[in-house]
Symmetry: C2
Subunit: 289 residues, 2 copies
Amino acid sequence: MTLTKDTNILIIGLGVIGGSYAKALTKQGYCVNCITLEQRDIDYALEHKMILKGAAPDDKEMIAQADLIILAIYPDNCVKWVKENADYIKPTTLITDVSGVKQCVVDPIQKLLEGKAEFISAHPMAGREQSGVEFSDDSVFIGANFIITPTDSNSQSAIDFCRDFAKLLGFARVSILSPQEHDRMIAFLSQLTHCIAVTLMTANQTPDMEKFTGDSFRDLTRIAKINDLMWSKLFIANKQALLEEMDSFIAEFSRFRDMLAHDDADSMRRVMRLSTARRSLFDKPTQNS
Amino acid sequence: MTLTKDTNILIIGLGVIGGSYAKALTKQGYCVNCITLEQRDIDYALEHKMILKGAAPDDKEMIAQADLIILAIYPDNCVKWVKENADYIKPTTLITDVSGVKQCVVDPIQKLLEGKAEFISAHPMAGREQSGVEFSDDSVFIGANFIITPTDSNSQSAIDFCRDFAKLLGFARVSILSPQEHDRMIAFLSQLTHCIAVTLMTANQTPDMEKFTGDSFRDLTRIAKINDLMWSKLFIANKQALLEEMDSFIAEFSRFRDMLAHDDADSMRRVMRLSTARRSLFDKPTQNS
């Protein structure tokens, strides 16, 4: 599949990510339609020239015409949507998604579509703390990471399409991981960090502390403003991997705690030197220049 | 005491904070000298017009002439320095510091100086990840918080002086706390966050994860690049308060872990809504406008 100005692109779900995809694609002259629950979101997107047409979920005609379908809804809803709509989708249509967890999406959807349209799963690693189409912002894609999680049942041409598509949206680095590898990695890099930020924000509720805060506390808790519905779904959908990361974080944190309890400055300093060296690897490429 | 262009200001220790004080004060036309260990740091400061004169620690003449002394060295070294130099300091001289922990500095220094010069302790809540005079940057003070931690033995005029001094350096909010309150608050807002960042950086050492990272992981680990000597001293100097905060963090994190283990989405969502509401309090004032 090659994206042309005639490709009929259908986005399912006009939230902050679906809306950002719509903005990025429409700006470049592509033909974007959408299906979403709320008429007011469609009105907003039409008003801001983000889409050509919008429809409610019962518009099967719009599904039947789509060449490329992007599922920008919660993981469990992706599976439900495919179950309900698989029969309306053209066999030549390519379907992709934006889910932050993969095993619970890829396996059931590829089974549902066996012998029908191809589903190639992807995770755009960019987002905003706010949710809703009015917070759409395609600039968050610029320089961000994009992960494609193909399985044996995916074609090379679908993988190649996804890679080009990510570049077109502005993503800087495109990687290929298996759904399992993705979920393990995301449990640590993204889900664990959100659990930590939330805990830090709720562990000590002494009043007036905001008067004394510095930037480091603000940095660690920026993501503590969180979409509780989406993240509780993501955490539960990736429960085993996340529990493992939480347990190994508790173990490592407790080790550091015990070093302090024993005034063991040498061991603390060794851990901090390791942390300093490892953190350098995670600087943004532009920060090194 | 009132700061004038004739006030002889002496900074002890030309590190990143001492250097930033020197820059801010010299820029505004004040007379700044310094005492520090390394001649190369003095040369750097003279070359960059940050100070008038610099000397090695054995220059007692420079100490005897100072009207305002700023201790910009590690907490334990502050106490040691006062012990060794109390007899050279004029009785009218005001002494302050920049330490990140207070009880272990304020009590012993005020005892050492009883009947001599006045020591009023302060904590400028601004810093940089890098250490060394070459990373001095007085712009980090702009808009930051400044905490004064007086005791019963301090005069109102010293407190008033410190408040004006903080404003002159560029700090936005000046607060008064007891040394005890300061140390409890800093254990949570600053020391705990550094322990978390270090642990997150060392808990999972799977290779190549930097290829997949997003900004949230980068935000949570920015301070994991850490001056291991200074922070191990700060942690140990505030051990009891920090251990309490670490233990209550572990308890809260473990509660959240158990909610996940039991698929208890409702409880997780309740915690996340609390975290979202509380985090709003910590937005920078400018972020609200």
